[in-house]
Each structure stands twice: as structure tokens, then as C-alpha cells.
Symmetry: C2
Subunit: 325 residues, 2 copies
């Protein structure tokens, strides 16, 4: 299958690397809204202007849209789903129904197939929540994130006056994980589930106490959590906090038996050195499924919930049953 | 959907309990090869003779076949797939392709839909292996079982002269789990991955040393593992070893990045108080999918690899996207 990347940031670079791990996929181009000559790809993949994407349609089976969910994808995905089979990683959970409806309308009208919200949350974590709730109906699910970098929280700290750079780690609390694993189905507050670690590079002469206060009291982002703020140098930030690790846990615990006498725990855990590279690998597997489903004549919008596991794999049904079942 | 149970052992009783947790499912009958009047169901579900199952066809959307993989299912599932939409839990991994082919032929010819090998391994563990390999192509997977009761190993010990009863627990070795979690992709022998604990009730006057020797040297079952044999009384067996817990771990670890510089670990863990009741819940979720897929006109044999996650859930696509994605 011929894939192209639309938007060349962290996830776009991840897709570029991911294609090399999937022998049935070929990267035919990277489309950017920057001047193409200013962009150098990791693997030498050709770079084209985003405005020229339609001219390359015959070289694109599936277009992997790699943009931000806040401002890029809400417009981009519906527009591109009118001309290509597409995959995106839209991750604003609360706005998924609205995004789905717009993409679905555009894709149906043009006879294309689109898949939105690929990645790990939404994505693989969503799958775990769905499988868990379908299998253990008398139960409860829990999602924990981290230890990992939250871009949204890091950005929020960077907007505080006197902050030059910031990195925020979301950290699940071990006692909460153990309480969930025990099958006791505890009720947990935000503060009981996660703590937040913030590393800040402050401007020379900035009021560090004021910065710390602004962080820990920030509504929605930090006020409901125990947060530690550590001031570091720009060199330390670059040396110790350049990576983008993430991951987390999805649990489903439930009870079975005539008198609910048996307890069951399903735990799905991701430990990721590189959040964008893992997201990109999920997107490429989903692009494979979109390519197959489109060739079977499907149109409209889908999510990972609508994809058979078999369609994600390069192996045939016979191979899957013999080797992995 | 109207479900019926064919075969009333541990899994059959589990399906009976599972139906009560799924409001969209109704249990219309239990079919047994024993004299129906000798069988009393847990919930008062009606019991019929297996030979009369065809007379109840109009009350059965999906027949859940609950038999043993060694002798029952290889004949039963193809025969019943010629008359009903069916689900089974065939779990002899090496013979799945052969079983699939026979069931597929019978189901296609009669226009029915069959799903084989539902449960957790094969089943949910298979899904984890597939998702893991599709997402991290440059990686390695590991399956660990336990701590849990292996019926096959328990039966093997029971066949040793002088053994009145036996229970075998498969136990994953913590150091091996940690080595896998580290992302180092170790090569592990059978002995390094699992140990085996055997509890034996010996006949009065039996040669315990001979029994222990027969256990720990038994080819295929025990000789490649470190095995402990503990002699207990019949009362202790009944008091401490009546339950059927099981579970285990599926890992996929892999590397990403331009120079394979990033490591990723996917861990899927089940901790089950009741192996048959959990298996039964998976079978009921799969029966829901079979019912929907059959109503869409699908025929032939399928596995859990061919089922969209959405089809396992009683929720609508809109509900799933809004609540679980």
C-alpha cells in the first residue's frame, strides 16, 4: 500500500520510521504547509507542498494526517476525507462525536473511507475499555496515564509569566494501582490516581515562588492533584527531559458467578519510550485496515472499534490462525 | 438474542451465569447428553435432551457449544454448524486449522455462521498477540500462564498409579516477567518461564517417592520444568484446591525510531478467580457478534480475529464513541 504523510511534526516523523518496519507499506511523499525546500525528512522521503496533494492522488492509497487536534484536524480531516482515504489521530475525547459526524458526511459523499482517533488513547486504550466492558459487564474500568510527558500540561506551564520552558510528567500512584488490581473496585479521586511532576526553566530574576504557586493552583490542570515543581537549568532540560515517554494502564475488574463470588482483573499496560513513534505505528496498522476496507467498497467514517483485528495484520487469515490464535 | 447451551459442564454453567449479566441475552435451554431429568441447572433454566436440539431451532439464535476439545468439539461443532449458528471454545492450538476447515465447510454449505476457539487462550490472549505484532513489527512476544490450575496437567498426574486426586498449578517465574518487562527481549527456556506445583492425594500405602519421581520426570508435561510435589489429604484438597483460578500475561516488546533507539512494552494480564466463568463471558460476547454477523448474512467459520470490537458490545456505535473511545 502507498501511504503519504500530511503534516510533518513528531507524529509525521514517527510514521516515516514506522513505514520502514512494515514491508507491505511504501511512503510516497510527505506533504507540508511549510516551504517544502525547508523540510528535510529523516529517511530522504520526498517532500511536497500541502497545496499540491491532489496532484499526487494516484500515488496515495491512504493519507495519514498528522496534525494537532486543537486546530488542525477538525478542519483538515473532513476536507481531505472528501478526496482521499484517510487516517487521523484526533484525540480530544469530548469532541470525537462531532468530528466523527463531519468526517463521516464528507467521506460518504465522496465515496472515501476515513478512520479517526487512532493511536493509544484514544486507540489501544479505548479497545481495552471496550473489550473489558463487553466481557465483564458487572464491573468497573479505570484508566491511568504515565509515567509520561503531557504536552497539554507542559504548554499550560509555559504560558505562566517568567517560565522559559517546562515539562510536565503525569505519574500514576502505586497505591491506587494496587487497590484496583485487588479487585475491590475502589472509588478514586483525581488526586488519589495521579500526581504531577513539573520541571521549569525560569527566566533570570523571575519570582520562583509565584511561578510555583501559579502552577499548583491552576484550575483543571493542577489544582486537583498533588504537584511538585522543580526548577532546573536550560541545559538540564535539554539533557534530561528531551524524550517523550508515556504509557499507562487500563483496568477492568468485575465479578462473576451465581452469587458474584468470583473476581476477575484485566490489566492492559503500555510503557512507551516514544509516545509519537508508538502512535505512528498504530496509525500505520490502521492505514492497512483502511486500505483493505476501502478496497472492499466501504465508505464513511470508522474508528478502531469498527476494524477487525485481522485487518490490522499483514498476515493472512490462515497464518494468523496457525501462529497467533 | 436467544442463546442455548449444548453441554452442561463447568463452561456450560459459566454461560448460564454469564447470560444473567447480559440483559440483551436470554437463555432458552440447556441441552445435555445425560438424561435431562438427572440435570438440575443453577438458575432453573430448562434442560432438554441433546438429541432433541433440532426441535428447538426456532428458540435458538446462537448455540454455545460447551464441550471438551479432545473428544467432543472436533465432531460436535462441524455437525451443529450445519444446523445452527454456533460458538465454541476449541482450545487445542495445534489443531485449530483443521477444526476451522471442517467447521467452515459445514457452515458454508448450510448457510450458517460459526465462531471457534473463543475464550482467553485461545481468545483474548490471541488478540493481544495479534494487536502486539501488528503494532510493533520489530519485536517479540511472550505468553506466560498462571498462577492457575491446568486441567491437562492435573489429569496427567491422576493417571499415575497410587494417585487418588491431583491438582497442578502453573506458576510464572517473577524474574522472567521482569526480564521481559525490561524490553531486553530475552530468550527464555520453558524452565525459566514457568514452574509447576503439584498437590497429590495418595492412596493409603502408596509409594510416595515413586509418585514424586513419576511426576517430575513425566515427558512433555513436567520434565522440562522445576516441579514441586506436595502430598495432602483428601480434606485439604477439597478445602484448599476446589477453585479453578487461572490467568497469565501476554507481552509484546519492540523497538522503534530511526536507529531502533526506543523501546516499547505492551503487557496484557488476566487474573481470574474462575477460568470457566471468564471463558463463558467471552463466549457470550462472541455469541452477540455471531448473532449480528449472521443477521448481516455472513456464513462460514470465523475466529475472534474476524470480529470487530464494536460487535462484541451491547452499546451502539454512537454510545461506544462517546463513552469508551
Amino acid at each position: 500500500m502507498k501511504l503519504a504523510i500530511y503534516g510533518y511534526g513528531n507524529i509525521g516523523r514517527g510514521v516515516e520510521c514506522a513505514v520502514r518496519q512494515n514491508p507491505d507499506a511504501e511512503l510516497t511523499g510527505v506533504f507540508t504547509r511549510r516551504p517544502p525546500e525547508s523540510v528535510r525528512t529523516l529517511t530522504g522521503a520526498p517532500v511536497y507542498a500541502a497545496a499540491d496533494v491532489d496532484a499526487h492522488a494516484s500515488d496515495i492509497d491512504v493519507l495519514v494526517i498528522c496534525g494537532g487536534s486543537a486546530t488542525d484536524l477538525p478542519g483538515l480531516t473532513p476536507a481531505l476525507a472528501g478526496r482521499f482515504h484517510v487516517v487521523d489521530s484526533f484525540d480530544t475525547h469530548a469532541r470525537i462525536p462531532e468530528h466523527f459526524a463531519k468526517v463521516d458526511a464528507a467521506a460518504r459523499e465522496s465515496g472515501h473511507l476515513a478512520l479517526i482517533s487512532g493511536g493509544w488513547d484514544p486507540g489501544m486504550f479505548s479497545l481495552s475499555r471496550l473489550y473489558g466492558s463487553a466481557i465483564l459487564p458487572d464491573g468497573k474500568d479505570y484508566t491511568f496515564w504515565g509515567r509520561g510527558v503531557s504536552q497539554g500540561h507542559s504548554d499550560a506551564v509555559r504560558r505562566i509569566p517568567g517560565v522559559l520552558d517546562a515539562r510536565q510528567y503525569t505519574v500514576p500512584i502505586p497505591e491506587a494501582l494496587d487497590a484496583v488490581r485487588s479487585g475491590s473496585m475502589p472509588e478514586l479521586t483525581a488526586r488519589q490516581k495521579h500526581r504531577r511532576e513539573v520541571y521549569v526553566v525560569a527566566a533570570e530574576g523571575a519570582d520562583r515562588a509565584a511561578i510555583e504557586h501559579a502552577v499548583v493552583t491552576m484550575p483543571n490542570y493542577f489544582d486537583e492533584y498533588d504537584t511538585t515543581v522543580t526548577f532546573i537549568t536550560a541545559e538540564e532540560m535539554k539533557r534530561d527531559h528531551a524524550a517523550l515517554p508515556h504509557g499507562g494502564f487500563v483496568f477492568r475488574t468485575g465479578r462473576t458467578g451465581l452469587n458474584r463470588e468470583h473476581s476477575h482483573t484485566i490489566e492492559y499496560r503500555l510503557t512507551l519510550d516514544s509516545n509519537p513513534e508508538f502512535t505512528a505505528l498504530v496509525l500505520v496498522a490502521l492505514a492497512r485496515a483502511v486500505d483493505r476496507m476501502a478496497k472492499r467498497g466501504e465508505t464513511g467514517c470508522r474508528t478502531i472499534f469498527d476494524v477487525t483485528p485481522a485487518d490490522l495484520s499483514p498476515l493472512s487469515g490462515e497464518e494468523l490462525r496457525a501462529r497467533l490464535l
